[in-house]
Point group: C2
């Protein structure tokens, strides 16, 4: 039965494992198959044509294994490949990470002034700014590229003075302004950033709401599966299958922190796209 197939989750690397973690929490009975294209990470510096081609190859692989839904757990790929994926694999439901984050931000912001933290390429494409503006016309949306957060998350330096100082350096120009309007909502617009949530929350202060696109994406997946009557009929805990295109050892070491549970290198299957 279709509803007992796993959900396919695709990312350019290990970052999307924060989405996998959120999915496991929200939908523990669902089985999940994750594909990280670690041989070609990062996608942010690639052309749109290449990113779409890579996303198609990843989706081909997951669809051939059998999935009931595709989650594009990569901001770069979500920004450019959702429509081509939906066309090619219809009626397979395809969920990205940008739209659920934008939905949540537009609905929680009271002041209609938001701050998006993302990678350089997501900021350059204004992926969140466009998606939020479509949902909250006239809202003010600041965007800041936080490249160091990616490096800190991958290095595992997520607590202590260094991430705190880095978060203050990025956020202070937007939050410690004199008199003028301040954002009341911060969007974590990169799948790496939930690992830095404590440091970001500390730098942001108590009056600011954090929107985590991993959690909001898991919620959107749950809603979509319910609507389409595709929730699994299985009880008990779903299985997790991990695939990568290169580097099982690094995927296991770095990925464990993102997934929030240990991964052994021999649990990671290397595939060719």
């Amino acid at each position: 039965m279709t509803c007992d197939l796993p959900i396919g989750v695709f990312d350019s690397g290990v970052g999307g494992l924060t989405v996998l973690r959120a999915l496991r929490r929200r939908l523990p009975a669902e089985s999940l198959v994750y594909l990280g294209d670690t041989a070609r990470v990062p996608y942010g510096t690639k052309s749109v044509a290449s990113i779409v081609r890579y996303a198609m190859q990843a989706a081909d692989h997951l669809v051939a294994r059998g999935i009931k839904m595709l989650v594009v757990a990569c901001n770069t790929a979500s920004a450019v490949s959702l429509e081509p994926l939906r066309e090619r694999f219809a009626p397979l439901p395809v969920v990205g990470v940008v739209e659920p984050g934008a939905d949540a931000a537009a609905s929680v912001s009271r002041s209609r002034h938001m701050l998006v933290l993302a990678t350089e390429s997501t900021v350059r494409r204004h992926a969140y700014a466009r998606a939020i503006a479509a949902r909250a016309p006239g809202a003010r949306i600041d965007e800041v590229a936080c490249s160091l957060f990616v490096a800190l998350a991958e290095e595992g330096w997520t607590t202590g003075e260094i991430p705190a100082a880095v978060a203050r350096t990025y956020l202070d120009p937007y939050l410690r302004t004199n008199g003028s309007s301040k954002p009341d909502t911060i969007v974590l617009g990169c799948t790496h950033f939930p690992l830095l949530e404590d440091a970001i929350r500390e730098a942001a202060g108590p009056d600011v709401t954090l929107v985590d696109s991993a959690t909001t994406t898991a919620e959107a997946v749950a809603t979509k599966l319910t609507e389409l009557d595709l929730l699994t009929s299985a009880t008990g805990e779903g299985t997790v299958t991990l695939l990568a295109t290169d580097g099982a050892d690094r995927f296991a070491a770095v990925g464990s922190r993102f997934l929030g549970m240990p991964i052994a290198p021999d649990e990671v299957e290397i595939v060719d796209l």
Copy 2:
């Protein structure tokens, strides 16, 4: 005349511009043509076969333009592609960044205990450890992957408390040991790291000598050109030509800091390899 051709310098991205800067200082009359493969950076995560193929393509392009020497200003490419490049393009002299750094470290270290700071992939391949061991048999060589240094250099955060704290975090376990042997020489084994030299020197303390592979490579190039009687006959300042495979704007913005002089986006020619 061959001696009046430019020196070709090749890197996976902008990091090699620190080598270009060192070459301009050491050999101001020489003309230089730099090619950064920004479309495919980073090389560290790629397979050896891919890295060799990319290096060959870059060298083909530079050789077709006319060069008298090829400098591989990329640690990853230096570690795996020097021999194939030398074979294919003989008698063109090919200089990498690993050997000059290893030569210098082996000759300056008194205690025969050295510390190599590099990227994750250079450490994993033990490129410097092998090269130094061949020159200083029996020496103790510690290696530490300093991924955050790359992100700090690209972000332009090279002074102040954050780079200082990051440098201490990486170095202290090797330098603040109780009683046991400590390295007296630190090799900056990544072309990004000269930008963090002040922070690294501060964390290392006054008793440690820093070996900068950009400066040592420029010295090796000068020696080789002299030996081969290939020094330019031109007087005055040589020209600098900048080529990249993608992203002229980012190359100009980030590259200016690495080269130590302003680069305008329209000075960067985009080429296809």
